[in-house]
Amino acid sequence: MTSANHEGGARQRASLPLWVTASIKTLGSIAVTMLGLVFITFIIGRVMPIDPVLAIVGERASQSTYDAVYYQLGLDKPVIVQFGYYVWDVMRGDFGMSLLNARPVAEDIARVFPATLELATLGVCFGIVLGVPLGVVAAVRKGSWIDQLARVVALVGYSMPIFWLGLMGLLVFYGILGWVGGPGRVGIFYEDVVPSVTGMILVDSILDRNWTVLKDAFSHIVLPASLLGYYSLAYISRMTRSFMLEQMSAEYITTARVKGMSEWDVVWKHAFRNIRVQLITVIALSYAGLLEGSVLTEIIFSWPGIGSYITTALLSADMNAVLGGTVVVGLIFILLNIFSDLLYKVFDPRAR
């Protein structure tokens, strides 16, 4: 009887299309990872030596006010129930109120995250567009002047403190040459000119067809984005170089040469196709790192991003904001991982 049921179940499951089971698996793994992440932030919130009630009502509140808030926060319930409430809140996108400005944390994050997203995306594009070809050429012309140049560029990228480069960049390109806009996302004349749709000024100004604002916003973002991009360039170009070196000594490269292919085709049609999967990992990591927000860059360029938001919240013990930010950053990492897993399957037949 039971065995018959089992068989029936198995048959039904087997009849589901492959992509459905794959999607269910993916969603399941996102859910489990997210639950783990939320659990950790919940624990952090509880073990921090900050009384959440006091943080809201203040030191001089009466006992009755204190108790009212205590019950309102559900702190009288068992911890597991509190966790349940917390998960429910997070699922609805409710990270609680910021203690600093008494606004919903979710709203604050929705405001600062697009700024970081814009900066990080432009930065990582810069890193990819320059870093990948530089790494490939350095590998193909190993030991040549261009390889040495790539090495120096990467070394400088790794070792220069970003605040110094940032300040020098501002001094030279903004202060002396006047080629780019200064700190901030747009000049003060253009603030709040375009309606905020996505929160990313570049996109919003395109949607609004306001080319003046677009131009101004671009001149503001180009310096911090290239600065961040420079760091991912350093990383991406070094990794590309070593992946390519490994592939160029592979036997199928000899096969391609035996066929009579040009060196350009050998490099790009054969070797490069084989490093795409590894490259995706590197780029995803690099991008995730940038999306976490670069505190120093954001501070130097007065960029209201998530990095400086979380840091300010942490320094003022605004735990709801810190935890909300942590969940969002964690979610980004998870999503980027899933996305790169999907790309693996596109680029590597062996992973299908």
């Binding site: 036997e251 199928y252 096969t255 391609a256 040469r257 035996v258 066929k259 009579g260 054969h270």
Partner: protein, 286 residues
Amino acid sequence: MMEPLLDVEDLWVRFPTRQGVFDAVRGVSFTLGRERLGIVGESGSGKSMTGRAILRLIRPPGMVEAKQISLGGVNLMDKTEKEMRAVRGQRISMVMQDPKFSLNPVMTIGDQIIEAYRQHNRASKADAYAKALEMLEAVSIRDPDRVMRAYPHEMSGGMGQRIMIAMMLIPNPEILIADEPTSALDVSVQRQVLDIMDKLVKDRGMGLIFISHDLNLVADFCDRVLIMYAGRIVEICEADKLSEAKHPYTRGLLNSLPRLDAPRDHLEVLQRDPAWSEAPSVSGRL
């Protein structure tokens, strides 16, 4: 004797190292007609380097020097890298040891074969596809349509090597260099792959350079055998007269092999004589 397909005279392959220049191939000379020429030797004897040097595929800092490597009367040593690309694949091709590594893992087999064809022939995609199918059938691949869409990791070693042969013969070259083409294969499929290769080479009137460390296989399969030692040719013989070879190295190799028809209690261990590597290379030019 017909005009040889390939005439190699005084071929050297050198690699600069910290300890000075290392000569992997030292003054090798031979000709190749429409025949099956075996090159036998142990690891490091320079046999693979000889094959790659003919295609000028030794990468810097390695250097190839020769009085001539003449293909149909034209010296390949005088050609530029770009001119060499028209020779590779189209006139001289090469099958390597292990299809697991010599096929590109992320490209379909069809794309790789079509690419080899279109590199040297102006053909539409459809024509090239048809040509590739035909070639796969010629190497006894069943269900070639499916194989065209498959990736190398889905193939067995024997199939992989037959695909490799199809890919290398599709531009219709005059010479095929087979560098240990069966060493990575199971014994049971070695013969099958060799037979296919043999038939194609014979039907097309090609010259074959068969590089191997397997004396018996070479004696069985080839017409003429060059025996290499330390970058030089120490002896040349007709394949069917290999058992009458005179050079002590060849004799030593033969004596170290077990034989079914003449079992012995002890197999000889090869005693090397330093004089072998000093003796001048024997010329295999006809």
